[in-house]
């Protein structure tokens, strides 16, 4: 059976697994943004905390993904075999780009703009939501874009610990020496990454202050 007809025949299953993969990445990204952006805000004026937070995020990012899974699985509550461990690992990977870009985006803002905002009687939350976050928006989104692409990649490996997703096809394809299975995992994973890159790039350009 040719790889092409294999793909056509199993398109329903492939689509379902692609959706599963996407959910894994989306859940991880939402959690990573909810942690990374507030933490980025927090470290702007706290150099000691900044060094610790960026240092730890950097360590997670540097550990090879399979090794990180290896570390997480034995941990009670968050570990074990399955989706939960995979999501925790994806969050840890996504943290550094989001945290670093939030921090850089916020520090890049012209101090004169912040001084004006304060002098004009904007409250702290008005300055945050109407000035700081919008001005750092393009930077933050660039971080989210990088993190998303990394997550789509790492999520394929998460199949090794029973998290499901497109990696399932690839690992099975390697075991059974089946090109059809390999491509059933590889093609959607590649397309997903390219599409995410393209779409988030569009949003990023819209957020850029021109």
């Amino acid at each position: 059976m040719s790889a092409w007809s294999f793909l056509l025949e199993h398109r329903g299953e492939i689509l379902g697994t692609t959706a599963e993969h996407l959910v894994l990445v989306l859940v991880a990204m939402i959690i990573a943004i909810l942690i990374g952006v507030p933490l980025g805000l927090l470290i702007v004026h706290r150099p000691a905390l900044r060094a610790i937070a960026l240092g730890i995020a950097n360590i997670f990012q540097t550990i090879p993904s399979l090794a990180l899974f290896g570390f997480l699985i034995p941990i009670p509550f968050i570990g074990g075999i399955g989706k939960r461990t995979a999501i925790v690992a994806l969050v840890l990977y996504a943290l550094l780009p989001i945290l670093r870009n939030t921090y850089v985006g916020l520090t890049e803002i012209d101090p004169a703009v912040l001084e004006s905002a304060e002098a004009m009687g904007m409250t702290r939350s008005q300055i945050l939501f109407r000035v700081r976050l919008p001005l750092a928006g393009a930077f933050i989104l660039a971080g989210v874009r990088t993190a998303t692409i990394i997550s789509i990649g790492v999520a394929t490996i998460a199949a090794a610990i029973g998290a499901g997703g497109l990696g399932t096809f690839i690992f099975r394809g390697v075991a059974l020496v089946s090109n059809g299975l390999l491509l059933a995992g590889a093609i959607p994973a590649a397309l997903l990454a390219l599409l995410a890159d393209f779409l988030l790039g569009l949003v990023e350009r819209r957020l850029r202050v021109t």
Partner: protein, 260 residues
């Protein structure tokens, strides 16, 4: 300049033995024992070299800084007793390079305080157009632009329009024309002088340019190392004998002597 009618509406600024020492590593006082009254409707120039404490003095007025000693009364009420948000919305603020919000249009920049104060939309639009006209920018041409599509002089005009939009009785300016080329600066100084006389607000501006102080202010205060070393109505300032006054006066002669 100091007519009783102008004093009567009570938009005065009063420094009572004010010192300011920043928190943190450097314990040096930046502002030392300043006592000073700016009457309603008066235009005061805070003149001094870099590091003389003039910008800190300005920031003490709208509560961006808090005095470590003494107090500042705005409309007879200490800045520390004001709700800082209410205090600042009643005080226009213009800084060098304008500090415009780069992600807002010109209209959104000018309309910011009215928007924060929840004015109805049509009234904000009307006010924005009025303010742009006042600073010599045609609303239909400039309202929709972004700050980076403006020249330095135009940005500064927008900065002034933004500060005036909610009609605050007090206006603070920190070297408002400092970053402009000499020709544009002279033009804006002249126009601002006319505007200030027309608006009759209590104005405090910071400058290191004696010529600018003489052109715009009704009263000039000279600062050195955080202290007032000279204070006089504009017309009497150049007659003062203090060494720092003479130094500034000499710089005036040098400027005049420079080839154009």
């Amino acid at each position: 300049m100091h007519s009783p009618a102008l004093r009567a509406n009570g938009n005065s600024i009063e420094f009572q033995n004010v010192s300011f020492r920043p928190s943190g590593e450097r314990p040096r006082e930046i502002v030392s024992d300043i006592t000073l009254t700016v009457a309603s409707g008066e235009t005061l120039a805070l003149l001094g070299r870099s590091g003389s404490g003039k910008t800190s003095l300005l920031k003490l007025i709208n509560g961006l800084l808090t005095p470590s000693k003494g107090k500042i009364l705005i409309k007879q009420k200490a800045t520390t007793e004001w709700d800082p948000i209410r205090l600042r919305r009643g005080i226009g603020y213009v800084i060098q390079e304008a500090g415009l919000f780069p992600h807002f249009t010109v209209a959104e920049n000018v309309g910011l305080v009215p928007t924060l104060e929840r004015w109805p939309r049509p009234r904000i639009e009307e006010r924005v157009a009025e303010m742009l006209q006042l600073v010599g920018l045609a609303p239909e041409e400039f309202a929709k632009r972004r700050p980076r599509q403006l020249s330095g002089g135009q940005r500064q005009r927008v900065g002034v329009a933004r500060a005036l939009a909610a009609d605050p009785p007090i206006l603070l300016l920190d070297e408002p024309f400092g970053a402009l080329d000499p020709v544009t600066r002279a033009e804006l100084q002249r126009e601002f002088g006319a505007l200030a006389r027309q608006l009759r607000k209590t104005i405090v501006f910071v400058t290191h340019d004696l010529r600018e102080a003489l052109l715009l202010a009704s009263h000039i205060v000279l600062l050195q190392s955080g202290r007032i070393v000279a204070s006089a109505p504009r017309d009497e300032f150049l007659q003062l004998e203090h060494a720092e006054v003479r130094a500034f006066a000499a710089s005036l002669l040098n400027q005049a002597g420079e080839p154009a």
